[in-house]
Amino acid sequence: MDLFSSISLGFSVALDPFNILYCFVGVLLGTLVGVLPGIGPTATIAMLLPITFSLNAETALIMLAGIYYGAQYGGSTTAILINLPGESSAAVTAIDGYQMARQGRAGPALAAAAIGSFFAGSVATFLLAAFAPPLARAALNFGAPEYFSLIVLGLLVSIALAHGSILKALGMIVLGLLLGMVGQDIYTGTPRFTFGLRELFGGLNFVAVAVGVFGVAEILRNLENEHEREVGVKAVKNLWLTRDDIRRIIMPVLRGTGLGSILGILPGGGHILSAFASYSAEKRLSKNPEEFGKGAIEGVAGPESANNAAAQTSFIPLMTLGIPAHPVMALMIGAFILQGITPGPNVINEQPALFWGIIASMWIGNLLLVILNLPLVGLWVKMLSIPYRVLFPAIVLFACIGTFSINQNVYDIYAIAFFGIVGYLLIRFGCEPAPLLLGFVLGPLLEEHLRRAMIISRGDPMIFIERPISATLLAMALAAVIVAVLPSIRRKRAEVFVEED
């Protein structure tokens, strides 16, 4: 079957009014649940999964895909409005998105996120339709050494996440990496840093850490001097993007889409890096890097596009090979199986209507998302007019209940309190929370791939240089460090010369 007839088959499935309706319901529910503090996309999908059981396979999976985009976007909304990311990519959005909200620019931030996501989603859906099988094959060339080198590169370029002291940012990344090691070692089963609690064997919960260092810490910051300072966010200036905003987001959206599309294909954790990589790239390329961290719209548009592109292309390994790239995809596999379809290399041939129907519905889902959310921007922004003294008890409670409902694990809630106070102290002393979260999600991957690569090479570290992809990535990492360090060396030399004069 050629691409054109495949796609038209897909649209004939996806444009069935019944399927459009469920796609819309999925997007709506996903947005509404994803927007609850403490509930990220993975939890949203786990909660809403049972709703799809009673539907037929195509409709169920179309609705599920809708829930996924809705949840992604809902999560970004919470990050922008109340500085509470539900997953790692939203932590990037929170950096500049929340600052924009505080300046009364929540509307443009949400609109930039929605438009960037839509564009990125459309491009990535096209990639998925046109090149899924060869892309998935290419991604399989990535083994443990390649992932290790990729993560090293990601960590080194992500120092750009900080707008203050680079040393402190490095410290936060390393602290995050260490926190990521809490739990049972997957190689030997040794429980590490668990205080003997079996509840901690699975590691610290991402949402608990994020709610602590972002949400609770921010609330404590705001309670510091309630009397003198207006807390929370300022009155809303405008809802829509200005002409200047649109000019500023075009390139970040394009670059984010490209970066995210490539990284999303890698099943071993590429999608995690997409938002961080895009943010770093935009900050490096910007003429005004000092604006980043203080409400730069590029810092919202780029990472949101990258994240959505990656979310889309991470379906490639799932749909063509049947392998899940991350927990959401694992849930999708469960949903496929419950519908009587075992995801694997044969789905594309045996169930073409389903395969192409889902792909077509992804684009429709993205379109519905944008149609649904642009009017909702006004509603979300209105919620900011709720007085802070009412809003923050709601945030605390929702975060506790949301986190608890995911695993019914009370230690996740104790972790919120612990990371709330630690995060508050660190932020008060001039550190920033985003690098910590990046380290936290990458720590386990870094260790896992390093140790696996060493087992496969039987203890020979040359494996990282002998394999071409890995060597290239490490060379890029080295170049990134040199580029980052050079300006300061030059500046110092300039200072020396000035003094000599």
């Binding site: 040393l167 602290l175 260490l178 190689y187 590490r192 840093f193 709601a394 087992i455």
Partner: protein, 153 residues
């Protein structure tokens, strides 16, 4: 105070050193392993060491450069009540059940803002309780006893 250093840098450096030292020392108890089969202690010891070094560097950089801005006041009431509520929630959600815990937690957190009084905090907590009940229990089908075993007769 006549301290000629950045208190912020000293404090954050100290936190890094404390965490780094904890992870590295605790990891000494785990197997370090060989390059072929790295043990569970390898990464934490290496990273813990790096964090201690970074902590010292952060603190050292702050010496001779006092903070430009005066530190904001400590939100003691907020810290005690917000964190206290989170801990209370964790400790009692299984025992007291959803409704009492949400009511009490909402009330206490609201009281951590000086802008709330008893009446407004009460209104906020009842409102939140109804809202959470509708969203999580009714809407999302969360499985949790509404009134826990500690309160049953």
């Amino acid at each position: 105070m006549a301290l000629n250093a950045s208190k912020n840098d000293l404090a954050s450096g100290a936190i890094f050193v404390a965490f780094g030292a904890y992870f590295a020392l605790e990891a000494m108890r785990y197997e370090f392993g060989t390059p072929f089969r790295m043990g569970p202690g390898f990464m934490p010891i290496v990273l813990g060491g790096i964090l201690v070094a970074l902590g010292i560097a952060v603190a050292a950089k702050g010496i001779g450069k006092p903070d430009e801005e005066a530190a904001p006041p400590w939100p003691w009431r907020g810290i005690a009540l917000v964190l206290g509520t989170v801990l209370f929630f964790a400790a009692t959600i299984r025992g007291l059940g959803f409704i009492p815990v949400v009511l009490i937690s909402g009330f206490v957190t609201a009281m951590s803002s000086v802008k709330n009084n008893l009446v407004s905090a009460l209104i906020i907590s009842v409102g939140l309780c109804v809202l959470c009940l509708l969203i999580f229990v009714v809407g999302l089908g969360m499985i949790v006893p509404l009134v826990g075993p500690w309160l049953r007769f």
